[in-house]
């Protein structure tokens, strides 16, 4: 088991956003988390990424408990998340975003030797690798037109893909995607699906939350479903979508959109 979540609970004041949720993710699979807004999906993802600590419960990553760590420690360990609303370094170009996101790559290649590269142009070979990888991801995520544009000029779809590209610069073992398809057009979703399938083929494990059931149903190997912060179903996407609890809880109102 790559990631194991045990009895995870998060309370914000009087509100229990995630209630006693347990599930696991195997290496190499795509796990989908279904649920409408307010069901606790984003909170669950933020807990796994250590954006904030859980109220109780544990998160075991590769055999080590990681709850209470900091986001950058999680990212360094291989758990990286994207944001539902794209987070950007607003005055920088898309390419510069990727160079910043390449920090861990440089750190892994050079360790403390990176301090010695401070006064060398472009950090030597590792710096060249970084730029090559950034250009590769620009191509893969179809951000060629955006590459040298300041982030303020990007379209919403480009912003979201830039978020995915930045996360990929971090060389994640587990990529947590928070509604990657929301707000995207049809071709953009196809492109995203292609990118995610390639990722899985390359061995990256994915955990994706979305309320677009069609998109996630096609992609996920396994799905879990949340309602009011509780896990109400788990299994293949088809089985979860047919689960009477799930249908009763919220799929009725969303099915048509999918």
């Amino acid at each position: 088991m790559l990631l194991e979540v045990g009895n995870l609970t998060k309370r914000f004041g009087g509100l229990t956003a995630v209630a006693d949720v347990s599930f696991g993710i195997e290496r190499g699979e795509i796990v989908g988390v279904f649920g409408p807004n307010g069901s606790g999906k984003t909170t669950l993802l933020n807990l796994i990424a250590s954006i904030y600590p859980p109220s109780s419960g544990r998160i075991v990553w590769n055999g080590t408990e990681i709850q209470g760590r900091k986001p950058h420690e999680n990212a360094a360990a291989g758990v990286v998340k994207t944001f539902q609303n794209p987070q950007l370094f607003i005055e920088l170009t898309a390419f510069e975003h990727l160079l910043i996101a390449g920090h861990l790559m440089l750190k892994r290649r050079l360790g403390w030797r990176r301090v010695a590269t401070l006064f060398k142009r472009d950090a030597g070979n590792a710096g060249a690798d970084l730029e090559r990888r950034a250009r590769e991801l620009i191509r893969l995520c179809r951000l060629q037109d955006a590459s040298d544009e300041p982030a303020a000029n990007l379209s919403y779809g480009e912003e979201k893909m830039l978020g995915v590209a930045m996360a990929l610069m971090c060389e994640p073992q587990l990529l947590l995607l928070d509604e990657p398809a929301s707000g995207l057009g049809v071709t953009e979703i196809e492109n995203l699906e292609g990118v995610l399938r390639d990722l899985r083929a390359a061995g990256t494990t994915l955990c994706i939350i979305d309320h677009k059931v069609g998109f996630l149903g096609r992609l996920a190997d396994r799905a879990i479903s949340l309602h009011h912060g509780k896990k109400i179903a788990e299994g293949t996407p088809e089985a979860v979508l047919r689960d009477p609890n799930v249908i009763r809880a919220y799929l009725g109102q969303h099915h048509e959109h999918a």
Partner: protein, 324 residues
């Protein structure tokens, strides 16, 4: 190539300037501008490039000045050794002050206020530790630092011309270090912290570590500047660590521009020369500084450098459009 030519031109002007400028007053203003330029450039690493308004910079400058002198007086070390010891002391203090501020995630206004409080503590210690610092009266520095020059051996740094080249070299070194830092992977971490530290964190950047790193590096440069400044002036007083000094540094950076490594030097020149060009008293100086600050913030958010850069850029795209 173009950049290299520009650099060579600036270096050439700096080298031959003493031949053209005969007035000792003018040379003195230039030397002070160089030294305060170092202070402004290093402060801008924290303020302009990492987005943290540190009010500890003048404290680092003042401690550097006092500690360099005290190390020389008590331990009989050379000026440069004293400067290294002062820099080490300031580095250690910066780690403590920075760690406290950044551990508690103090940002913006809160960071400014807490660093100001720390620097006031240091100022009060300097002011009241009469036996060592001579309190409000300050200390006259009689000794001149020495410098080893090829072919001439150990020479005293004395006289305007000598100080001119020493301070120019020190400023050049500061700008070089700052430029390399800003354009390195660490500079990218600084930008990430300034623009969106939460995103930087999720992307694996240890925000605490790099905030602390830039704070320590900038303060160490300020400490070295303090040593040079004190021995050029021949005098140290608690005013070095005052809030006025901190605000003067902020004003230089805002006026010169915080978007480019060397831009604050412009601000240092303007604000150093201004009191000499227009004669006004010490009280008037604060008013003029304040006025300049307000006007810059309202009219030129990227400072003099930014205003010029925008002027040049406004012409450049028009040419591109014609070509396309």
């Amino acid at each position: 190539m173009k950049r290299l030519l520009q650099l060579a031109a600036v270096a050439g002007i700096v080298l031959v300037l003493p031949l053209a400028v005969k007035s000792d007053t003018a040379m003195t203003i230039i030397i002070f501008s160089f030294l305060l330029g170092m202070l402004a450039v290093s402060f801008n690493l924290v303020f302009g490039f990492t987005g943290q308004l540190s009010m500890f910079h003048a404290a680092a400058f003042g401690i550097g000045a006092y500690a360099t002198h005290l190390a020389m007086a008590y331990w009989k070390v050379s000026f440069w050794e004293g400067m290294v010891l002062a820099a080490a002391l300031v580095a250690a203090l910066s780690v403590v002050v920075g760690a406290i501020c950044f551990r508690f995630r103090l940002r913006e206004f809160y960071f400014a206020v807490v660093t100001l409080a720390f620097s006031e503590v240091v100022r009060l210690v300097v002011l009241n530790w009469n036996d060592v610092t001579n309190g409000t009266l300050g200390i006259n520095l009689q000794v001149k630092p020495t410098l080893w020059l090829p072919g001439q051996g150990l020479v005293k740094i004395d006289g305007t011309l000598m100080w001119y080249y020493v301070s120019a070299a020190a400023l050049a070194l500061t700008v070089l270090v700052a430029w390399r830092l800003v354009h390195s992977w660490m500079g990218r971490c600084f930008a990430a912290i300034r623009l969106n530290d939460e995103l930087g964190d999720v992307l694996g950047i240890n925000v605490f570590r790099y905030k602390l790193a830039v704070f320590v590096i900038a303060n160490v440069i300020a400490a070295c500047t303090g040593g040079l400044y004190a021995f050029y002036l021949g005098f140290i007083e608690p005013g070095f660590l005052s809030i006025d000094q901190s605000l003067a540094i902020v004003a230089m950076v805002l006026l010169g521009g915080r978007g480019a490594v060397a831009a604050p030097v412009i601000g240092a020149f303007v604000l150093t020369a201004l009191p000499h060009l227009i004669h006004f008293g010490a009280e008037m100086r604060s008013i003029v500084y304040g006025g300049i600050l307000i006007l810059t913030i309202l009219l030129m958010q990227q400072g003099i450098y930014g205003a010029f850069a925008r002027l040049l850029r406004r012409r450049a795209p028009m040419r591109e459009n014609h070509a396309a």
